[in-house]
Subunit: 493 residues, 2 copies
Amino acid sequence: MTAYEDACGHFRRMDNFVHLNAITRWDQMANMPPQGNEARSQALAELEGLLHEMATSAALGALLKGASSEPLDDLQRANLREMTRAWRTATALPDDLVKEMTLAGSRCEHAWRTQRSQNDWQGFASNLREVVRLAREQARCLAAGTDRSPYEALMDLYEPGARCADIDRLFADLKTWLPALMQEVLQRQQQRSVIAPQGPFPKSAQRALGLETMQFIGFNFAAGRLDESAHPFCGGVPQDVRLTTRYNEADFLGALMGVIHETGHGRYEQNLPREWLGLPLAQARSMGIHESQSLSFEMQLARHPGFAHCLRPLLVRHLGEQPAFEAENLARLLTRARRGLIRVDADEVSYPAHVILRYEIERPLIEGQIEVEDIPGLWDAGMQQFFGLDTRGNYRDGCMQDVHWAQGLFGYFPTYTLGALYAAQWFASMRRDLSGLDEHIARGELGGLFDWLRDRIWSQGSRWETSELVRRASGEPLNAAHFRRHLESRYLP
Amino acid sequence: MTAYEDACGHFRRMDNFVHLNAITRWDQMANMPPQGNEARSQALAELEGLLHEMATSAALGALLKGASSEPLDDLQRANLREMTRAWRTATALPDDLVKEMTLAGSRCEHAWRTQRSQNDWQGFASNLREVVRLAREQARCLAAGTDRSPYEALMDLYEPGARCADIDRLFADLKTWLPALMQEVLQRQQQRSVIAPQGPFPKSAQRALGLETMQFIGFNFAAGRLDESAHPFCGGVPQDVRLTTRYNEADFLGALMGVIHETGHGRYEQNLPREWLGLPLAQARSMGIHESQSLSFEMQLARHPGFAHCLRPLLVRHLGEQPAFEAENLARLLTRARRGLIRVDADEVSYPAHVILRYEIERPLIEGQIEVEDIPGLWDAGMQQFFGLDTRGNYRDGCMQDVHWAQGLFGYFPTYTLGALYAAQWFASMRRDLSGLDEHIARGELGGLFDWLRDRIWSQGSRWETSELVRRASGEPLNAAHFRRHLESRYLP
């Protein structure tokens, strides 16, 4: 056995434990009764201890070093690159720091659940300071010996290869045209009427609608499920994808669009290269690319005006006929833009501004140019600038709205907007590569679209660095002009 | 830290992995889509490899040896006894034998699924020979250096301390009176009329009925669930008990009695001593004692003529009113005796004969007095003797009906009848200890009954050897006379 093969064996063994972790974590969210939590948390902590030990083992480091001088083909070299990336990331942090981060993050997040509803910024800030202190230390450790800045080193965890210079360029571009576009969309939409759906919509009917919609957009139910949880997510493993949603009987669109979004994540997982499953080469490329799939499904496809013609019969079958389900009205419902305080409720026009706001706060926060107490002032100024909204004193719907910072997750937010930009770029490429894409969508003929995504993105796993994946899939580097053209053609036709 | 404490730490760590194993195995049966099976099987095999390594570690052996000369209190000594038993059992078999057994068992069981429906005894026998060869080797290894016979060593895995001499004595006693009693019960029942329930009974109504019945008999839903699977079982962990059932819309009694049976197992698990959870001391005493709980619930309680008065309003609420749900008719429905070919469909009167038949075949088979080809002849003779039924040529509903032998599970069958005998003994003791037990059951006042089981059985975990547990709970050793009196008073009043 070569060192390369031994290293692969090590990762395949880890992957077996990752499988158990994924399924029991899904179960914790979707099934577990409350009194099961303590024993489950202990069992998962034990498992993660084992996984950490395996991921940081000195023997693995030696195997990877040995493998680097062995003759490997292209795919093996790509896999070695990803195995080495995983090993470096796992070994970059001292064990004590990891434990402190876990502790501080879960303490801050736990308190945040009540502090948020009480609008208690001071209480939250006192925990957040420790979380930020540790995140700065984490960033410093990850950046050491690389040419990355500390914030870049955090982004690199979720979006390998992402650089602040690129993000700055993309976001600066968005800032030149997005506020005016948002303004114009809102003005135009004021003048059109939309019929609101009349509920209630029973949960069982919504579930049946969700299942049939998933089937329609190609989810493989022989290798996955749909269940319920308080916070929807795409979990499980590529061979057994576990999607969740939550139902509100007054509003079926939330659950339905959520299901379509998670199905985008799910189909990416289900179509990762099977022959490499268990190895880093087979994993999804990055969080931004993952989000580009969920947004390809939810934003590009499901809110496409033609798709309303596909949705209409499904809605009528499961929820009964009503005027709101007329195709043109449905399309309007699915493209309503709004100026709102809450990121997760935002439409695709306003969403990037929420992300830019957070990026412009968390980056200097990690790099030490600002402190926790500066956050609310910067938040208020940003909300005023981007949306003209006054958020002073409203921490709950302001800088305390997201769970990310409470958990110590910094450098993640940009991936949401990268996902939106990538998704627009995929669809621009498809329009070039596949003739009549928009007509096909309106007729529900989605095979060509899915084949394109499968060939160009899903089946590629982590074979290429992100920039190379993007170039190979679309013929050019990431280009925000596609997102602009998408918004203009959909919202300002 | 003492060696004793270190050994406890080792078992607690193992218990965390046992937790993950239990939940993912439950998921495999209750949730997993078909294409998830290959990756799941690999992940579980990896986990079991780890558990086997931990259970057989030389370091653990040294700790247990060290602990045996440390000063320990009574509970610690009992826990050390159980830890040592687990270690001895785990280390008794060579790794290669374990692997061969797993392979041969799963090959034989997999083929059995189709061979059974094709009545293909020759095909089955060709796989079973290898399974039996390995089980004999397993029994020889387990018996080596003990005073147990090979078959006793297998029984000891499921019923620690069980001896063939005791089983022989109990079964010989049953054989003196049970056939005549069965005969008389069947004759009497021929003369009474029973109104059959008129279906269909929708699955959702049956599920709601099952849930309310579980609630009524004390299942803690904050620490457990009810789901569906092809083969009902009680899985999960004491803090999170996962029961399953299956529904037949033509017959609600199968699922309902199944749910009550599994609830007996489940309440035992939910009420094991919490302060010792994670250690062998906190585990259920044996398979026979476990079955005594499921049969206390299903046979002693739920088929008690008084319990029909408790069930009646639940049936009417969930399935609607019908003549069959009149209490006296319900009681008759729940105590129908039948001469049948299939063990799992047997009533409590005929069940022991099915077990004795199997015991009288598997014991000489393991000990080398008979061979696989002798099974059908012995089976036919036994069925003729016990039930007067001709089973020649019907392997499917004869010696091929159970999964146990196909999987290499020998020595397990006696625990079913031990469970029935123990359950009768518990109820005889309760009648002595609690006044008016039968009237309380008819009124649905079950607190005293459950308290008795909790105090005497559930909360004791594995503190005592089985014979001592039985003596402490009921004041005497296992005594089949209680089972006889139970059958006579219920079936020949």
